[in-house]
Symmetry: C2
Subunit: 323 residues, 2 copies
């Protein structure tokens, strides 16, 4: 890197966060971190490319949020405590206004979650961002996709469906007459909040967990495939926001949205019968709902008030393929 | 990721290396690793973009080698032992032949250095590769750029200049009549070998270290800037290969190449007088040469057999700017 591209570094030197476990940050051949004794490290990498994951003229604040939040959400789904992030970023040119907005949003979110940027690489090229985030875990406490057992209860945090409704508004495929409602749903789409504290609180309670990034059916499908089990979901139990209820008149549609909406960054997790009492205490500050139960089949069965549904939901085929 | 792009994953499932400290590799929300007690972790990220760092039609074996070797070389410069790598890769299309060659070379190098691929992201987009490599270090033993002291001796491993000569051949700017010599130098350019064992051996001996990726003058410049010292180099001491001697007839030119050749992946390091004896034992299997000494000025002085030179070497200006 040389010339004007070295100037980019000034935007990445603004972070407030200085973690005690970062021995050496940017400016040497490597960063050095000091993991706590008896801790494991959870590591996730996501790559966002202009034209594939966002439009070239997308708001840089939204790009920064999406890049970091989707990665933090992966840490949340393991029950990890966010710690460090490394960034590779390619930019077609040095656009000061773009970099100012991008880095301001990035560091605001990083600081909120106690994450320190420990290094990376800036280069000229088609716009893309690759982040590797790392979080710490007490030894052996990571929440995986493979621990669900027959009889475990299935839960989700928050509400589901708003992100998909927000995408409808962005793509102008469906709009409400209520302008404020449209704006609220777009906001929900762009700045979903990873459930980090919930994930950490679930470490000793949940038998498996995943974050909802592709849609509940698809993501729960990963738990089922990895755990070699099935599930029965009652769509009447899916948590729906007042905003989605106002946006979609049909109950069927709302439930379909809740099943397939991606980038929600809510957690889907399973809990053994014996841990249900602890769950109420552990997540006392987070809305969550029981939506079904793990079964011994390898199918995902959809019911509504105990009546089977034959919906062909997006993501379900994907699950079938990956089993 | 969906459709044909999910098929890419099959190429990344081939690795032999299964490290004991990898608790969970690909397939969950995060990978999980278990660092050894009392160890620190060195982390480096490099991004390679088609059109910026290599030509779109470059040999995928060379791209894979460059991507991983340049990152491993950063670990070597810290004295770290390579452990884990995460990859973000964007590809314009699914080219089986390309992927086969890329992953074969990648895993051959990763296995050689005991590195396990622990996760990543594959996506559609303009060709680019971002790697985050991690290595382990005994607590407090990392070799930084900031530890050089006045009076320390300056060393380099191996020989310098071949990578730049190889680039001349590739760009057809200068060729030898000896076809085998040209091919040898091109090879040197593409598959330089990181000095991992040397870096580890230098942990208790060197006061500072860096890998030569931008050219000796530029990289030594980073040590001088970070350590707030100067240096005096005798260009007659620069280690030159027989190949470079055959390629370049003028002694001046060979020394200029040795000063400015990048992507050598040799180490430049400083050693206090009291550790010089240990150095001979520690690097008994690696060629290395003393090329100068750290001074109390903030300048890099070039001499030849004790006569000052006034060369304006590429990379030197860059050093001036970054001080």
């Amino acid at each position: 890197m040389s010339g004007e591209f070295s100037l980019i570094d000034k935007y990445f030197a603004h972070q407030q966060q200085q973690r005690k476990d970062v021995i050496l940050a940017q400016g040497d051949d490597c960063a050095i971190v000091a993991p706590a004794q008896n801790s494991h490290i959870a590591i996730s990498t996501d790559m966002l490319v202009s034209g594939t994951h966002f439009l070239a003229d997308a708001n840089p604040a939204h790009i920064a949020h999406k890049a970091l939040a989707s990665n933090i959400s992966d840490l949340a789904a393991m029950g990890a405590s966010p710690a460090w992030v490394s960034m590779g970023i390619a930019l077609p040119n040095v656009d000061d206004a773009w970099l100012e907005v991008f880095t301001t949003t990035f560091f605001k979110l990083a600081d909120y979650y106690g994450i320190q940027l420990i290094g990376g690489d800036t280069t000229k090229g088609p716009l893309s961002i690759t982040l590797t985030v790392q979080g710490t875990l007490p030894e052996g406490k990571g929440l995986t996709r493979s621990g669900a057992k027959v009889g475990d209860w299935i839960y989700v945090t928050g509400t589901l469906g708003d992100a998909k409704a927000g995408l409808d508004v962005i793509l102008q495929q469906r709009m409400s007459d209520d302008v404020a409602l449209n704006e609220h749903l777009v906001e929900q789409h762009f700045i979903s909040t990873p459930r980090v504290l919930s994930g950490m609180a679930l470490r000793d309670i949940a038998s498996s967990a995943i974050d909802i990034s592709d849609g509940l059916v698809s993501d729960l499908g990963h738990i089922l495939a990895r755990s070699d089990v099935g599930a029965r979901i009652d769509v009447a139990e899916l948590p729906i926001s007042p905003a989605l209820t106002a946006f979609l008149q049909q109950e069927d549609e709302r439930q379909y949205y809740a099943l397939t909406s991606g980038e929600e960054y809510e957690l889907c997790f399973t809990v053994p019968e014996t841990n249900r009492g602890q769950l109420e205490v552990a997540l006392s500050n987070t809305p969550f709902r029981c939506i079904g139960r793990i079964t011994g089949t390898r199918d995902l069965e959809l019911h509504r008030n105990n009546i089977p549904l034959d919906w062909n939901v997006s993501g379900f085929d994907h699950f079938k393929v990956t089993v």
